[in-house]
C-alpha cells in the first residue's frame, strides 16, 4: 500500500499538476506552438526548394540537395540544436546584436525539418504520372511551367499526410530547445514541466506536460489517418453514363 501511495504521489499529485498547469498553458503551450509551427512553415518552404533541386536535370543542385539531406537527416536532433543554437549564438550577437537564442532554436528545427520535408516533397512530385508532364508539354508549356503549374501542385497534395506527420515530430522535437538556456518567458511545455518537477522533486508536472503533448499529437495523428483515407478512397465518386455523342461541326 505504501508503494502504491508513493507511486500516486510521484506521478499523479493533483496539487503539483494544478500548480504547473497555468504556466504550462500560458507560457509553455504558446512557445511550443510557435517553435513547431514556424519551423514547420519555414521547413516546408526550404524543403520544397530542396525537392525541386533534387529533381533538377542539372546534377549540381541535385548533389547539393542530396548532401544536405544526408547530413541533416543523419544527425541526432539534439546535436544539431546544440551546435546551431549555442555555436551560432556568439556570431549572431556580434554581427546583429541578437542575444536571444530562441530564433536559433527555430532555425535549427527548420534545418532538420527541411531535410525530411524535402524528401517527402521529392517522392510526392516524382510519384506524379509522367503523362501529366507530357500532356502539359504537348500543350506548349515549358518544362519549368509544366512542373510549377501541373506536376508540383499534384505532388504536394499527395504528401499532405506525411507533412502533418512531420508537424507532429516538430511538436515533440521542439522540447529539445530547452538545452539553449532560454528566458523564463521563452520556456516551452517540457521545460515548464521539468522546472516544476525539479523544484518539487515530483514527476507529476512532467506527466501534465506529457498529457498536454498528447492533446496535440493524438488529434493530429487521427487527422493524418483521415486525410490519408480520404485521399485513398476519395469522396463517394459520382460517375454518370456517357452522354450522347458530341456535336462538333455537325452537318459539315
Amino acid at each position: 500500500m505504501d508503494a502504491f501511495q508513493q507511486f500516486l504521489k510521484t506521478f499523479f499529485d493533483w496539487q503539483a499538476m494544478g500548480e504547473v498547469i497555468p504556466s504550462m498553458l500560458t507560457v509553455g503551450l504558446p512557445n511550443t506552438l510557435i517553435l513547431a509551427i514556424s519551423s514547420g512553415i519555414l521547413g516546408s518552404l526550404l524543403g520544397l526548394v530542396l525537392a525541386i533541386m533534387g529533381i533538377s536535370r542539372n546534377p549540381i543542385p541535385r548533389w547539393i540537395a542530396r548532401i544536405y539531406t544526408d547530413i541533416l537527416r543523419g544527425l541526432p536532433a539534439i546535436l544539431v540544436i546544440v551546435i546551431i543554437g549555442i555555436g551560432l549564438g556568439p556570431i549572431l550577437r556580434q554581427t546583429m546584436g541578437i542575444t536571444n537564442p530562441f530564433p536559433l532554436g527555430i532555425f535549427a528545427l527548420t534545418l532538420m525539418a527541411a531535410a525530411y520535408m524535402g524528401e517527402i516533397f521529392r517522392s510526392g512530385i516524382q510519384s506524379v504520372d509522367k503523362g501529366q508532364l507530357e500532356a502539359s508539354r504537348a500543350l506548349g508549356f515549358s518544362y519549368g511551367s509544366a512542373m510549377l503549374l501541373v506536376v508540383i501542385p499534384q505532388g504536394i497534395r499527395r504528401v499532405l499526410p506525411a507533412l502533418v506527420n512531420q508537424l507532429i515530430h516538430l511538436i515533440k522535437d521542439s522540447s529539445l530547445i530547452y538545452m539553449l538556456g532560454l528566458l523564463a518567458s521563452q520556456r516551452e511545455i517540457y521545460r515548464v514541466g521539468n522546472d516544476a518537477a525539479a523544484n518539487s522533486g515530483n514527476m507529476s508536472p512532467l506527466i501534465a506536460a506529457g498529457l498536454l503533448y498528447l492533446c496535440m499529437t493524438i488529434p493530429l495523428t487521427h487527422l493524418v489517418n483521415f486525410i490519408d483515407k480520404r485521399m485513398r478512397e476519395g469522396r463517394a465518386p459520382k460517375i454518370e453514363p456517357d452522354e450522347a455523342a458530341a456535336v462538333v461541326g455537325k452537318g459539315a
Binding site: 504520372d129 503523362g131 501529366q132 507530357e134 500532356a135 502539359s136 508539354r137 504537348a138 500543350l139 506548349g140 508549356f141 515549358s142 511551367s145 503549374l149 501541373v150 501542385p153 499534384q154 497534395r157 476519395g234 465518386p237 459520382k238 460517375i239 454518370e240 453514363p241 456517357d242 452522354e243 450522347a244 455523342a245 458530341a246 456535336v247 462538333v248 461541326g249 455537325k250 459539315a252
Partner: protein, 245 residues
C-alpha cells in the same frame, strides 16, 4: 469549307534510336492540309513514338519535320507544340483542376488571355464537345469517354493547325468509344488536319484519307483506305489485318 485554320504536316526520313534500340528507321509521312492520316500497326511498331517525334516531345536523331512546308526543327519546341494539339490514350487531364480550368489553363498562361476570356473560350470548347454542364466537376468524377472529350476540347482550345490522337479510344470501355470516335469524325469532316494512331480499323477505313501501316520502325505500306484494307500488298499487312479484323 473548313472550320479550322489547319495546316499540312510532313515528316521525312525520321530516324530515332534509344541506345541500340532503333525505334524509327527512316519514316516518311505526308499529311496534306485538312486531311486525316491514320497510322496502324502492331504494338511496339513505333507509331506513338512517331507522334512524339513529330511534335518534338522526343527529338529525332535524323530527318526533317515540316509544318505548312517550313521546317520546324530550328524553332522553339514549346512554340511548335502550341500549334499541334495532342490527345493521349490515358487522357492525362489535370486531376487537381476542374474541367473548365483544364481547358483554360493554357489559354490563360500561354496565350495570355485574361482569366474571364480564357474561361469563356474554354466554355465554348466544352459546349462543342457537349460537356459544358460538367465545367466545374473534377476529371475524376467523369467517365472515361467524357474525360477524353474534355482532353480533345483542351487541345482544340489552343486552335492548333494539326491534331494528334494517340490511341485515343484504347483505354475506354467499349460503350464509350463511340462518342469519342464521333467527335473525331466531326473534326475530320470539319477540315482539321489529323494524325490518328489507332486500333479502330473501322475509323481508319471509313474516316481517314490515307492509311499508313507501320511495323518495326518502318512504313510498310501507305495509301488510301481502300487500297490498304481491300488489296494489301505485303505479307506483313495481310498478317496484321487478319489478326485484327
Amino acid at each position: 469549307m473548313s472550320d479550322f485554320n489547319s495546316g499540312s504536316l510532313t515528316a521525312s526520313n525520321i530516324h530515332l534510336a534509344f541506345g541500340n534500340n532503333k525505334v524509327l528507321r527512316g519514316i516518311d509521312l505526308h499529311v496534306p492540309q485538312g486531311t486525316t492520316a491514320s497510322v496502324i500497326g502492331p504494338s511496339g511498331s513505333g507509331k506513338s513514338t512517331l507522334l512524339r517525334v513529330m511534335n518534338r516531345l522526343i527529338e529525332p536523331d535524323q530527318g526533317d519535320i515540316q509544318l505548312d512546308g517550313r521546317s520546324v526543327l530550328q524553332d522553339n519546341p514549346d512554340e511548335l507544340r502550341r500549334r499541334i494539339g495532342m490527345v493521349f490514350q490515358q487522357f492525362n487531364l489535370f486531376p487537381h483542376k476542374t474541367v473548365v480550368d483544364n481547358v483554360s489553363l493554357a489559354l490563360h498562361k500561354i496565350k495570355k488571355l485574361p482569366k474571364d476570356q480564357a474561361r469563356a473560350k474554354a466554355m465554348e470548347q466544352l459546349e462543342l464537345v457537349g460537356l459544358a454542364h460538367k465545367a466545374d466537376a473534377r476529371p475524376g468524377n467523369l467517365s472515361g469517354g467524357q474525360q477524353q472529350r474534355v482532353a480533345i476540347a483542351r487541345a482544340l482550345a489552343m486552335e492548333p493547325e494539326v491534331m494528334f490522337f494517340d490511341e485515343a479510344t484504347s483505354a475506354l470501355d467499349p460503350e464509350l468509344v463511340k462518342g469519342v470516335l464521333a467527335l473525331m469524325t466531326d473534326l475530320a469532316k470539319g477540315g482539321m488536319t489529323m494524325v490518328v494512331v489507332t486500333h479502330e480499323m473501322g475509323f481508319s477505313r471509313n474516316v481517314s484519307d490515307t492509311v499508313t501501316f507501320m511495323d518495326a520502325g518502318v512504313v510498310v505500306e501507305t495509301g488510301s483506305p481502300d487500297q490498304l484494307f481491300s488489296e494489301p500488298k505485303t505479307e506483313r499487312l495481310k498478317g496484321f489485318l487478319s489478326d485484327v479484323l
